[in-house]
Amino acid sequence: MTTSKENLDETPFQTAGPFLHIGCMPNAIKIKKLYKNDLGEIPFKSKNESELITIEGSVFDGNGVALDDVMLETWQCDEKGEFKEESGFARFIPNNLTKKFILKTVKPGSFKGFDGKIHSPYISLSISSRGLNMTLNTRIYFEGDELKNDPLLSIINNCNVNSLIAKKISKHSYLFDIFLQGEEETIFLDI
């Protein structure tokens, strides 16, 4: 067994602020012709519509207001449980009228991790915005999947564990609301 000691501190976070779209998704706010595409518009380019699930939801602040100035990023393995560095990343914002985000992606598979354990299917999710001095991290698991032996879920001893599980609405669609504060506060992760 070998380990070595790190010698530098991680650079501190600062808030992404209200204008993060300029740098991260300029096309979404109509700054056109600068970048051909915004990154993460389509997480799996080779898949067609019938192979995808839909996850929709809103991000609520402590006043119960659904926010439209947050940026969400997701990262996941494919349906076979394989992580591929060129696919599986998505970046999106809530619609400014409905305040809902919609992610169309492949339903991830379960996988055997570096730790030798079987992980239930999940999507990693991060949230950045004005008012958040650090990016928040959580996960989206799926109702109906085998979840009780998942290495993360099985160590969470918290009544809000359901905040990590997307509700199944129909065969291919799920609901995943995020609560930044309040009784239903979503579980956030120190990844």
Partner: protein, 241 residues
């Protein structure tokens, strides 16, 4: 077996998320403690972006939105540095995205209510991938400071927003670079959400006079450190042996 794990984040050197001096955090900062757990594949791995997503002028903010090659207003600056991990190892191919206000302190964004003028030749966004030595460089315009509503009117120090993807999703970083000598830094609640003085200072780009004097523009150096990944090797052994 080769087990990888991210170095645990040192929250003493990070901003406080629940920091009421920054008013917008009051109804957005979660109140409960985050759950810590061993890194798994999704944190160790991450999306990688290749050269063909980057356009030729993406790291030149003085030209990437200019009309008929007109320059944006303000003075040109170079912002450069290296992206390293916590073991001082350069990170090649890290994606850096930046965004900033123009020289008058105005963002090209509908939600910016500041009355300062927009600059038709400046969008304020750029991106690049780091080289094999972790090096990056942007040519841009000195962003202006600007007023914003917080505890009454306050002024943001001049800054550039940075978003960085390393090799791992757990290395993901979003931060801001400030400018050496800016008197507005010391009272900024976003800066002061970091308690550790050394950590705070690490966000201040240093004026590089030698480079400034040879290139006819001011140069600022800003190094970025992403989390390190520890590797622990165990001998492969069958159970029970």
């Amino acid at each position: 077996m080769n087990v990888k794990s991210l170095i645990r984040r040192n929250y003493k050197k990070q901003p406080e998320v629940d920091f009421p001096d920054y008013k917008s955090s009051i109804f957005r900062a979660p109140k409960n403690k985050k759950i810590s757990f061993p890194s798994s594949d999704s944190e160790i791995l991450g999306p990688i972006f290749d050269e063909n997503v980057i356009g030729e002028l993406d790291n030149n903010l003085t030209l990437n939105f200019s009309k008929n090659k007109n320059s944006p207003l303000g003075h040109k600056i170079i912002v450069y540095g290296n992206v390293l991990d916590q073991f001082s190892k350069p990170i090649e191919g890290a994606l850096i995205e930046i965004w900033q206000a123009n020289s008058a302190g105005k963002y090209l964004h509908n939600n910016d209510k500041n009355t300062a003028p927009i600059d038709p030749n400046f969008a304020g966004c750029g991106r690049c991938l780091t080289t094999s030595s972790g090096y990056y460089e942007f040519l841009t315009i000195q962003p202006g400071p600007y007023p914003y509503p917080n505890r009454g009117i306050e002024w943001r120090p001049m800054h550039i927003h940075f978003s960085i993807f390393g090799k791992s999703f757990g290395q993901r970083l979003i931060t801001q670079m400030y400018f050496e000598g800016d008197p507005l830094i010391q009272d900024c609640p976003m800066v002061n959400s970091i308690a550790d003085e050394k950590a705070k200072k690490s966000l201040i780009g240093a004026l590089d006079t030698s480079r400034s004097n040879t290139q006819n523009l001011l140069a600022y150096k800003f190094n970025i450190v992403l989390r390190g990944i520890k590797q622990t090797y165990f001998e492969n052994r069958r159970e029970g042996l």
